[in-house]
Symmetry: C2
Subunit: 246 residues, 2 copies
Amino acid sequence: MAKQNIYDNEIFFEGYQKLRERGVNANNLFEIPARYALLPDLKGLRVLDLGCGMGDDCREYIRRGAKEVVGIDISEKMLEAAKAKNADPGITYIRMPMEDLYKLEGGFDVVVSSLAIHYVEDYKGVIREVNRLLKKGGEFIFSQEHPVNSCYGGGERWTKDENGIKIYSNLANYGIEGERESTWFVDNVKKYHRMFSTVINDLIDAGFAIERLTEPVPTKELVAKYPDYYDLYHRPDFLLVKARKI
Amino acid sequence: MAKQNIYDNEIFFEGYQKLRERGVNANNLFEIPARYALLPDLKGLRVLDLGCGMGDDCREYIRRGAKEVVGIDISEKMLEAAKAKNADPGITYIRMPMEDLYKLEGGFDVVVSSLAIHYVEDYKGVIREVNRLLKKGGEFIFSQEHPVNSCYGGGERWTKDENGIKIYSNLANYGIEGERESTWFVDNVKKYHRMFSTVINDLIDAGFAIERLTEPVPTKELVAKYPDYYDLYHRPDFLLVKARKI
């Protein structure tokens, strides 16, 4: 099973760093608030962050009262940045692909993952391990590319009108699951498309109860301020899932 | 709250009857098999069918061993046809819109609904009543237009290439929920679009555990036989949900 590490590619890493530094982007406006809204009160809890990147979330979980945070990431560069800017006695950063979760000991109250799981081919295997790592009743909260987004495999993403306004998101191959190659700063970034039903059914089969789904769309106020995000009414970027180990 | 009864419109009813008589259509090939695959063993069970139409399913549920089937439908014409072609001592047909479920007594083991719930504006209200009508542990199994389909509100549904092959389903306004008017045999058929997350979250809030989702797509064999259904890889027509009263 491929363990993809695009983040240690120099060009990717620089592009990614710049993206994350910009204040106004879909992550900051939609993914982050939606994910934090799904989190339980973290006071005194043990948290595992899958694909922790530069550790901003790990530090925020500590700030919110988590007793201990373990952040794993496949990328050495990311973890170097995390240790430089988001070190904390309560945080342990471990270099590890999500496919190696079997090496970790369990007992976590919360497992969180932000926009990382669509890079994983073996979704079933990863969520089975997440289930094992959680205490009974523990929460798994993750975000991923929305299935109507992750199905993209080439061609034009949008149909525009004569004024250049996006009027349709071009949906294709939603029903064909599996690998997609795309360009995101660098060529050949591999992602894995799964239908909505697969995302949910596999969680149920892995021993989770579905608690909440979020497909963030902008408010009218936000669209008035940033008209570009009107597009998200046509096609949400993200899907967030909250599931409880039963 | 509007209770829509398009089925008693003469033109609609005739068109609908012909559609249902044809052997090869998306209902027969995808919706019906997917729905029956979600059903539990019906032997000795009490079943409620919401929007039972001409009663074909009610009779099939009896044939599969259901002790009692109650079929409700808003349309007098539909129920006349049901009583003429699908009468059975175990089946009771009641003329009633789904919004009037509060008039029924509970104790059902299974509630089923085929392609009717997207005509209902008050989804939350209906599923709350479905929950009340079920025994604890009882199953609610329904199909509806897929959310990437029900969001359609006008314009071209597909982008075709120069050979007339559908290459993109034109996704628009997925994130804007609510009423849609469409033409299906007659003008002004009202449907209600809900995002995937709303369909699921409202069920959870109404006291259900999500057990299984199905987004039927064709097999290769089926597409080889009926190439038109390749389109469903781009955009599934249906979403099916199985949920258990907890």
